[in-house]
Symmetry: C2
Subunit: 151 residues, 2 copies
């Protein structure tokens, strides 16, 4: 195994967890930046060709974990933590798909940040493919959306 | 930051890196399983409702990292490591989208494994949304595919 080391940090308009859009219909179109540590800049070569990136990051302000989460997207009903995006996970790892808007040296301007300002980044990968909508089932979240729209 | 701890391990038909389909047109439809450590089984509650999962795992047999990778998908041409899925990354973290076929207790049967047998798993998250095909650009990989099909 390994000890996670930041390759960079997030610049985000969100300074408190409560400011991040959550729950059903939350839009993640906030703009921000990924500022890589200079030592890693060479690893960004050719990244401009990709429209979307996976960002793997650390819930560095989450404290401990629960196996059952109560996501706001489902009125606080209980679900297994691995069936949610709850920050309190055994390994406090976050995953976000962002749109790449541009690059200046070791800084990537991106849309779709849902991390707190200053969040440590562990990895960036190209987003390559997607699961066709007709093959995708979204479990309790789809049910929560149905309940929400009928209220 | 934190020290990565396995929540479980992958059962895969692949025992050597060379056996994993790589490069252009590689199909990832191999079936395997994620066997969670029993302590974490409760965290799987309600996961059966999701058709696809993100699996975050460790390249535990990769040794060190390079900032420039030479992916087989592009005839070994150089690209920044963060624009590739190379195993030799500053944080040796892998990410795979799998289809959930079924669950027996703490074991998830899945399709689409591209990890070695015995790979440690760090996290599982529901796969919720996808980027529409018409908005996706795939950088050097799309160009490599074009070159490949014209040969």
């Amino acid at each position: 195994m390994f000890t996670a080391q930041p390759i960079g940090f997030i610049h985000s308009p969100f300074h408190e967890t409560s400011a991040i859009p959550k729950g059903l219909g939350a839009k993640h179109d906030a703009e921000g930046a990924i500022e890589l540590l200079r030592d890693y800049e060479l690893g960004l070569a050719d990244i401009e060709g990709f429209s979307h990136l996976f960002v793997i990051w650390v819930f560095d302000r989450a404290d401990g974990f629960y196996l059952i989460a109560h996501p706001p997207a489902d009125q606080g009903l209980p679900h297994g933590v691995f069936a949610t995006r709850s920050p309190r996970r055994p390994n406090p790892i976050g995953l976000t798909v962002v749109e790449l808007l541009g690059r200046e040296g070791s800084t990537l301007r991106v849309r779709g940040v849902d991390m707190l300002d200053g969040t440590p980044v562990l990895d960036i990968k190209p987003y390559l493919s997607s699961v066709p909508a007709e093959k995708l089932r979204r479990g309790w979240l789809a049910e929560a959306e149905k309940r929400g729209s009928s209220q």
